[in-house]
Amino acid sequence: MTRARWLWWLVMGLAVGLAGCCQGIAEPQTDGYRLLRTPTGTRYPTATAPAATPARSLLPPLDPADYSGDIIIAGSSTVYPLAERMAERFQEEGFRGQITIDSIGSGAGFERFCVSGETDIANASRPIKDSEREACRALGREPIEFRVGTDGLAVVVARDNDFVDNLSLDELARVFSSARTWADIRPEWPAEPILRYIPGTDSGTFDFFVEVVFDKDEEPILTADNLQMSEDDNVLVQGIEGSPYAIGFFGYAYYEENADKLRPVAIEGVLPDAATVEAGEYPLSRPLLLYSAASIMQRKPQVAAFIHFFLTHVNEEILDVGYFPASAEALEQAMRQWLRAVGEAP
């Protein structure tokens, strides 16, 4: 053979060999949480996870492999990591269709669900507004709320920041509105300007923060100095990491993913963690919600199947994703909603 041809065969052989051997490397690694894969494909959390109160499953068993078609989901960037994890698992366990999830903010998610009718499920980190509910009804969709988890909204600073440890709700309001420098909040803090990184106005996180801290008045926070807004929480993380005088807030999962570079601030003396959030002691805990409609769930059975799967298995994944489980009653209530929506008696 000529040299060129020999070289070509060698390269092809290497490529095929690499493709073959590396299939094994691409398999998902098991880690401490996901210990067992039983023959039926379900997984169980290990004892290392804090015990999530298991909700009694009121739902009939369901096999993802029986369903196909598409599921279109859009909404909250906070709920996004959780929805993505559940969608991945749903597909791993045999779902034959396509799931698309867009992270665009709760407000934008409701827009797509209730006004343009493009999506099957809306993710939200705040409850639906009356005007949005009206718009949905005009489209023939009666929105049903499914509570799937709880978030402790984390107010974070960079690890380099060594002076802020606790803020009262009043101080928090001033940090995000009229104060110019840190010294304006407490005189012993440095007289450096406060750099603020917050979710944009389309975000449910923004709406929730404004509701709790500013009593629904958007003006003080939107007129603050040095304000950077983005629906993409990763943009905020990068900004806050970059300076010891920066502060921002977003869903707990984004803090946990970057816990090596960020530090949560205690609000009214309470830090967010599983205990304080579940007990409701942390002032900024809020629900993680899915909205769909009976008309959609009946017309597209794969949507109902996905929600069923979500409700059944969310507590196995939610701590790993970085959020906190909803109470057993809330999950059971969601399951009853599901049964009613698909037409089976609760």
């Binding site: 665009i104 827009e111 797509r112 629904k216 939107l222 007129t223 950077q228």
Partner: protein, 389 residues
């Protein structure tokens, strides 16, 4: 004199000389004309669309949700409205809307508003409890061009922060791109050997072909840390206008260099020979004879580069900042016009909301800026053009 009577054979020759029918030629000509006309139609379409939506923005009343609701039902004659305490703060003279009725606020109390009913031609009606209250704002042209705060959600429509950031980023980009681009062009046309040219030109093409989103991440992950290392972490913020400006400059260098090089090559050799004959060095010839002779082409290149830098979106969206900020410090984060349009529209706009209408007005401003630059460029080119033989 011979009698010039046409013979029968002469008739055929005459027919041949009249020429073959050129119907196909005519069709091709029309097709090419339509292709060129398409560019005109596109421009007209853009201007029409921008203009119509901007007119909406400037003339209509825009309503924003105040997050306040009626606390109790009211009748058509009530002038004191009970409202929820939460939500935006209202002031006397504000126009508010409940359902289809517009009212004007006369006095504001803790939990009640005194209003004048049925304003702006709407009819007074009874309203149920729990209805949303919207506040109206009208954008005044003066406020649009001189206001220093851009926050449509709360009725602030001053374009200056966005415009200022656009201009600063463009200025930084030009200080990077113009000297370097012109230098590369002079080198390529006056000094470079054939081998150097064979290496440089494709490299410049590659630089021009890199997607702008990659440039944006390049700014964020390489240029910003570099600036922070040089100037200090507390001087340079994570998102800043300087690194976006520098990278836009790098993006635009191939544009400047290729257009300038074309202009420089078009200068006839006779000018250079004349300069050498007078005893000038290569540098003197290049800078004092060739560049001034090619000035109109170089000016055109500069202006095209400025237009490109003003309209650049992805790099500023990723690296320059995510909030309008009126500052002259290039190391601070500030949002440009294009970055703002991208951020607002990536979160799903509803038609006819404040944000939707405002981005068309911003787009119109950008369009007029580039149109002005084009007109200036044409004037400059015409004024300084030198025609050789």
């Amino acid at each position: 004199m011979p009698d010039p009577t046409p013979s029968p054979a002469g008739g055929e020759i005459a027919a041949q000389l009249r020429g073959r029918p050129r119907r196909f030629e005519a069709a091709i000509r029309w097709a090419l004309f339509l292709a060129a006309a398409l560019s005109i139609f596109t421009t007209i379409g853009i201007v029409y669309e921008l203009g119509r939506e901007s007119l909406n923005f400037f003339t209509r009343q825009l309503w924003e949700d105040t997050n306040k609701q009626l606390a109790a039902p009211i009748g058509p004659d009530d002038t004191v409205l009970p409202v929820t305490r939460s939500g935006a703060a209202l002031h006397p003279q504000d126009m508010i809307r409940v359902e289809d009725e517009v009212m004007q606020v006369l006095a504001v109390d803790e939990a009640a508003l005194t209003v004048a009913r049925a304003q702006q031609g709407t009819a007074a009606a009874a309203h149920a409890a729990g209805l949303d209250i919207y506040r109206g704002s009208r954008v005044r042209l003066v406020e649009f061009f001189t206001g220093t705060q851009w926050a449509p959600q709360i009725g602030k429509f001053g374009i200056l922060p966005l415009l200022n950031a656009t201009l600063i980023v463009t200025a930084i980009a030009m200080t990077v791109a113009l000297p370097l681009g012109l230098g590369i062009a002079i080198y390529l046309s006056e000094y470079a050997s054939e081998r150097a040219r064979r290496l440089l030109k494709p490299t410049l093409e590659i630089l021009a072909g890199v997607p702008t989103v990659v440039y944006g991440y390049f700014a964020l992950t390489l240029v910003t840390p570099l600036l922070r290392a040089i100037f200090g972490k507390d001087v340079v913020e994570v998102y800043n206008m300087a690194s976006a400006g520098i990278v836009i400059g790098v993006l635009v260098i191939p544009l400047v260099s290729s257009m300038s090089e074309d202009a420089l090559s078009a200068v006839p050799q006779s000018l250079r020979h004349a300069a050498y004959a007078l005893g000038a060095t290569k540098l003197e010839t290049a800078l004092q004879v060739v560049v001034p002779a090619a000035f109109s082409g170089i000016a055109a290149a500069f202006i095209v580069a400025i237009s490109r830098a003003i309209g650049e979106t992805m790099i500023v969206a990723l690296a320059a900042g995510a909030g309008p900020n009126f500052t002259f410090n290039p190391f601070e984060a500030a949002e440009t016009i294009t970055g703002h349009i991208v951020r607002i529209s990536s979160g799903d706009l509803s038609y006819d909301s404040i944000d939707y209408n405002s981005i068309f007005a911003l787009g119109l401003v950008l369009f007029f800026m580039t149109l002005t630059l084009n007109i200036i460029s044409q004037r400059v080119v015409r004024k300084f053009r030198q025609v050789y033989d």
